[in-house]
Structure formats: C-alpha cells, structure tokens
C-alpha cells in the first residue's frame, strides 16, 4: 500500500490577525510559515494508515524551497519520503491548477492507493484542492473523514462526520480522503526523527518532469482570482461583571438579568 499526504505551508495562525489584505493579495504575508494545521491531521493519518495496514507514506507539496520546512515537519512526524513540486511557472496557481500539479506529482511518483489531505488550508479556506485532485485523477473522494474503519480487499471504509451525525461509507481504491480534526491527535516529532528528517534529501519535480505546459498553470490559467480582500473589524464585546456578596446573590442577579433584560429565559 502507498499513501500520499498532500500538504500546504501556511502562515502561523497566531500571526494571521497581523497580516494586511494588501500583503495577503500580494502573496507576501511576511509571517512565520508552518505546516497547515489541518494538514497535521492528514500527516498523522497517513502515518497511522502505514502503521495499521503496512506500506509507505509520502509527503507531497507544491511550492518554493521554503516549503521544505513543512515537508521536513511531515518527515519528522514519521513520513518515509517527501517530494516537492516546483517551477517558477507554478507561482500564483489557483486551486484547480494546484490540484493538477499535485495529481501529476502523484502520477509521476508512481501513483497512490490512498491520498490524504486536510480539510482545508487556514489561509485560502477553499477546501477545493482535494476535490480537484480526485477529479484530475478520476478517482473517488471522501470528505469529512473522521475515522478510517478498514482498508481491505481493495476498498476503504470510513466514517464521515456530518452535521446530522456520522455516516459509514466505502469506496474502491485508489481514493482521496480529506480528514477533519476529530480523526486523530497528531504526534509530536521525536528528536531522533527530527535529526533524520533534517538530513533526508527532498527531490524537486519541475514542470518538465510533470509534463505541464506553462499555460496550464500559474496566473495565466487561474480561473479563480482574488479581486479584493477586506479584513473584518475585530468584534467588540461588552462585558458586565455581576457584583454580589455571595454566590447565591450573584446567581439571582444573573437570573434576573437573563430573564428581564436579555429575555433569553
């Protein structure tokens, strides 16, 4: 079995409030870049699949050299190999083109039985790339995966987390699954793995390697463009502290307030 985890490097969420719309539009956030938090669950699941059903887990990402850091995080957690896809023509690719590049990368690497992605990225928030990969490869997609029940006889059985509850479905392999945070708790990389990860070479596949023409990707091919971006005003909340000598008195005042003023009870 072979599992490929597609991951993205995103700005550290704690620094997101500091980023201006202009910086975001220019693709120059100036923030610390980390492994997309949703993708940490995908990496963990990719490793767990290997531990449960045997095989190899490969981390895959599109991006410039700085992306190696996110790939090394995946290696340090336990992925066996990492591959980066990059060519100057890939810059400013939209979700559809990114999916094409990743799909070609997977094919070039010899395909995969299960492709794992996170639910979405914390910067783009589109949750579109997993769909795109499945379309490009012509294979099924299972989203909102909260548990991999079994992988056997060429099929995968998963639980999907829906608003109404959990749904168990099966699909033939190969398959793309996008996972939610309820699926697992990502492990911390051990020091020994960090050492190994920092020494593991990460091969880079170019547009030529992937047989991708410049007009298929990048700004030119983008079907989705960000025209403008507005930052929401921070929410301001009114805080009322209820005074009282005893907990009972405070509780009574709170109850009166909720019934008479807010009228929620």
């Amino acid at each position: 079995m072979k599992y490929v985890v597609c991951l993205k490097q995103t700005p550290d969420t704690t620094e997101l409030p500091k980023i201006t719309p202009e910086q975001a539009l220019a693709g120059n956030e100036g923030a610390t870049l980390v492994l997309n938090p949703w993708d940490e669950y995908a990496v963990e699941e990719g490793i767990r699949l290997k531990e449960r059903f045997g095989g190899e887990t490969v981390a895959l990402s599109m991006g410039p050299e700085s992306v190696d850091q996110a790939l090394r995080s995946a290696l340090a957690m336990g992925c066996d190999r990492a591959v980066r896809l990059w060519d100057p023509s890939f810059a400013d690719s939209d979700y559809w083109s990114t999916a094409l590049i990743l799909a070609r990368g997977i094919e070039k690497d010899g395909g995969a039985d299960i492709i794992v992605t996170g639910k979405m990225s914390v910067d783009g928030n589109a949750a579109a790339v997993a769909h795109g990969i499945a379309c490009k490869l012509g294979i099924p997609l299972l989203t909102q995966v909260a548990r991999v029940v079994d992988v056997s006889d060429g099929r995968i059985t998963v639980e999907r987390l829906l608003d109404e509850g959990r749904e168990t479905v099966t699909a033939p392999l190969p398959v793309v699954i996008s996972v939610v945070k309820e699926i697992n708790e990502p492990r911390y990389p051990t020091f020994i793995r960090i050492r190994k990860a920092s020494r593991t070479p990460i091969p880079v596949l170019s547009a030529a390697d992937l047989n991708i023409a410049p007009e298929e990707v990048g700004q030119a091919a983008a079907r989705v463009r960000w025209t403008h971006l507005v930052k929401p005003e921070p929410k301001k909340r009114q805080v009322t502290i209820i005074e009282g000598d005893t907990p009972e008195e405070k509780a009574r005042k709170l109850l009166d307030y909720l019934m008479d003023v807010e009228k929620v009870l």
């Binding site: 090394r72 911390y188 020091f191």
Partner: protein, 392 residues
C-alpha cells in the same frame, strides 16, 4: 535575534517542537503541580518519548544524539513553561546521563544510561549533605570496601536531592578514603531498590515545588564494586566536571524563566491601562522592559557560548568551567531580576496566583542557589581568571 545564525535547521525544529509541546502539555498543568507539589510523572514520561531526557546521549544508548546547543534550546523552552519540570529534565540530562556517558563502563551505559536517556527511568545526583555543599571534601557519607572486596558498605546522609523521592538510579558520592580529603571521594551508581537506601520526607520548598526533593539516608547499604563510577578516588573530579555541564543546563533554565517573565510583562504592558494610558506607554515600565530584554540577550550570549565550549570540549577534552560558571551566574541573576521586575510591572496581579508571574518569581530564586550559588560561581570565575588553584 542576534544568535539565530548559530542555529541549524535541526536546532530550529527542536526548538519549535519543544515550544509546541511545552505550550500544549506543560503550561496548562504547571500551576496544578506547583500547588500540589506532585511529581509530574505523566509529563516526564511524554518528554522521555520525545527524546528530552537524554538529548546529548548517542542513539545507541537510548538518547537523541544531539549537541549541547540543542539541549540548551530545549531546556529554555521547557523552563519557559515550568521551571520545576525543567529541573527534573536537567538532572536527568546534564547530571545523570552526562556522568554515566563520560565515566561509565560499557555495562553501566547499557543498563543505566539506556534507561534514563530513553525516559524509562529517573536519575538523581547525590552530592550535597546537611553540612557540606560546594565544600564536598567535608562530606560525611562513608563507603567501606567489604573484606572480600566485592562490595562497598555505605552509611551517611544526603540532602536536597532533586528527584530523590522517585529516582530509579542515583549517582552517589561517598568518602572512601577520608585521609585523602577530596581525593578520597568515590562515585557510585546506586539502584533505587537497594536495601539500606531510605528516602526522607519531601522537602516543602518556596519554588520548583513539582520537582520532588528529599533527603536520602544510607544504612549499611551494600553497593557492588561494579557500580563504582570511574575509579575509586575519582569522585571529586567527576562531581566537578559534571557540575560544569549541569551549570549550562541551569543557565538555560534561568534564561527560559527570564524570557517567560519578559513575555508576560510585554503582554501586560500592552493590555493594562492606568491613568488613561496603556502602562507600556509610561517610561518607568519601558525602562524595566528594556533592562529585562538587554540582560536576557546578554545571558543568551553567555549560555550559547558555554554550550559551544562544551561541544568543542568533546573533541579536545578541555574543561569549560569558566564559560559554564559565567553563564550560570549571569543567567540566574537575570532570571531573578526579570521575574522581580515582572511582579512589579504586574502590580497586584503579579502577587496573585491568578497569573503565573508569582510562580516565575518563586521558581527563579533556585537558579541562584543550586549547582553552586552565585557566590561560588564568582569564586570559580575569579580563581580561573587570577590563576589561583582550587575549584568548586
């Protein structure tokens, strides 16, 4: 900051991993362990799995096989979250593991180093006695070789032993030849279940309350000769050399708590308002923040420099006593200065257990005391610089 250039990608990944681990796993429970004084065993086990208990120990002996700078960076991050937890880590790494790795036989390394470095067992270091600390030559604990030459019989008492109540293995220093004074001290590795080893009550302490500290009593305790660490009579040399390594760990720990105090102060100075202004806009607060930051960066320079000196020593065999003492002295006094200022900046909230600042203040004090007080460090530094004999 200025010292980032010293760090490899590997160092940065270690720092990030430990920072994330400490923020998620240690910060939320640090106040609980401080309050109860319980030993944070679940955290220590997880730290062991990550590789935090034998950072500089080679992989073949259960460690992570990294350098001293990695150790310093990891200590800093753990201490930022909780000094007590970092104390347990420090004793395991720089006292126990360093001693057995440097002076142990292959069999000792396989048995004891493997267990402690991989986090399966807790190590301790027993040098101090009620009447002797840095003047180790005055120790009263006696080890007498049996008539058949197969074991030593040890009697005496050790005090202030970090992790003493829970330690699986203890490096114990005892006098085997009192006439030779400090040249008559021998180091032993004692197993925690050895008959005759009695653990005293846990000391109630001002700070680092989760790092269990107790007295150890030895009553006709038999330790096989195979458990002598190094050679008989070599104990004092081992004790002092190991303390050089230990002091770098304490410097890193002090640096960590100083940084925690500064970070808390910056947050508070930006949030807290008085007289219609954020208090960070007042010069009085700005000066404190400026002094804290400057001293922290100076302490970092000395600490990283000591770590690099220790790395060089792995090839040359040279001592790095001076670098370790200067780092420990300056970083610990910086920790005390910064936590003191942090309490003052926070005002009443700095005195309250609602925030961790009062804990930083209580915890920082120990760094000026253990593994050689600030006064001892000054003696060590001065004697080195003046070329006088004798060390501590």
């Amino acid at each position: 900051m200025g010292f980032e250039f010293l760090l490899t990608e590997e160092h940065k990944m270690i720092r990030e991993t430990v920072r994330e681990f400490a923020e998620r796993e240690i910060v939320p429970v640090a106040a609980h362990y401080d309050e109860t004084g319980e030993f944070p065993m679940p955290i220590i086990k997880k730290m062991g799995e990550l590789g935090l208990m034998g950072i500089e120990v080679p992989e073949e002996y259960g460690g992570a096989g990294m350098d001293c700078l990695a150790y310093v960076l990891a200590m800093e991050e753990v201490a930022k979250a909780d000094v007590a937890t970092s104390t347990i880590m420090s004793v395991n790494n720089s006292l126990f593991c360093h001693a057995v790795l440097t002076y142990g036989t292959e069999a000792q390394k396989q048995t004891y180093l493997q267990a402690v470095a991989s986090g399966q067992a807790i190590g301790a270091y027993a040098l101090t006695e009620p009447q002797s600390g840095s003047d180790a030559a005055n120790m009263k604990t006696r080890a007498v070789l049996s008539d058949d030459g197969r074991y030593y019989v040890i009697n005496g008492r050790k005090s202030w032993i970090t992790s003493g109540p829970v330690a699986d293995y203890i490096i114990l220093f005892a006098m085997t030849d009192p006439d030779k004074k400090h040249r008559g001290i021998t180091a032993f590795i004692v197993e925690g279940d050895t008959p005759g080893l009695i653990r005293g009550k846990v000391e109630p302490k001002l700070g680092i309350r989760a790092s269990a500290t107790c007295e150890l009593f030895f009553e006709d305790m038999k330790v096989p000769v195979e458990n002598v660490l190094g050679e008989p009579g070599m104990g004092f040399k081992i004790a002092m050399a190991v303390l050089d390594a230990g002091r770098i760990g304490i410097a890193a720990q002090a640096l960590g708590v100083a940084e925690a105090a500064l970070e808390a102060s910056i947050r508070w100075a930006r949030e807290r308002e008085a007289f219609g202004h954020k208090i960070g806009e007042f010069e009085g607060i700005q000066w404190k923040i400026a002094d804290m930051k400057t001293r922290i960066e100076a302490a970092r320079g000395l600490t990283y420099s000591a770590a690099l000196a220790k790395e060089r020593a792995k090839d040359t065999g040279a001592r790095y006593t001076l670098e370790a003492s200067m780092a420990k002295l300056f970083a610990s006094e910086t920790a005390m200065f910064c936590t003191h200022q942090a309490v003052q900046i926070h005002g009443g909230m700095g005195y309250s257990k609602e925030l961790p600042v009062e804990r930083y203040f209580r915890d920082a004090k120990i760094t000026e005391i253990y593994e050689g007080t600030s006064e001892i460090q000054r003696l060590v530094i001065a004697r080195h610089v003046l070329g006088l004999r004798g060390s501590f």
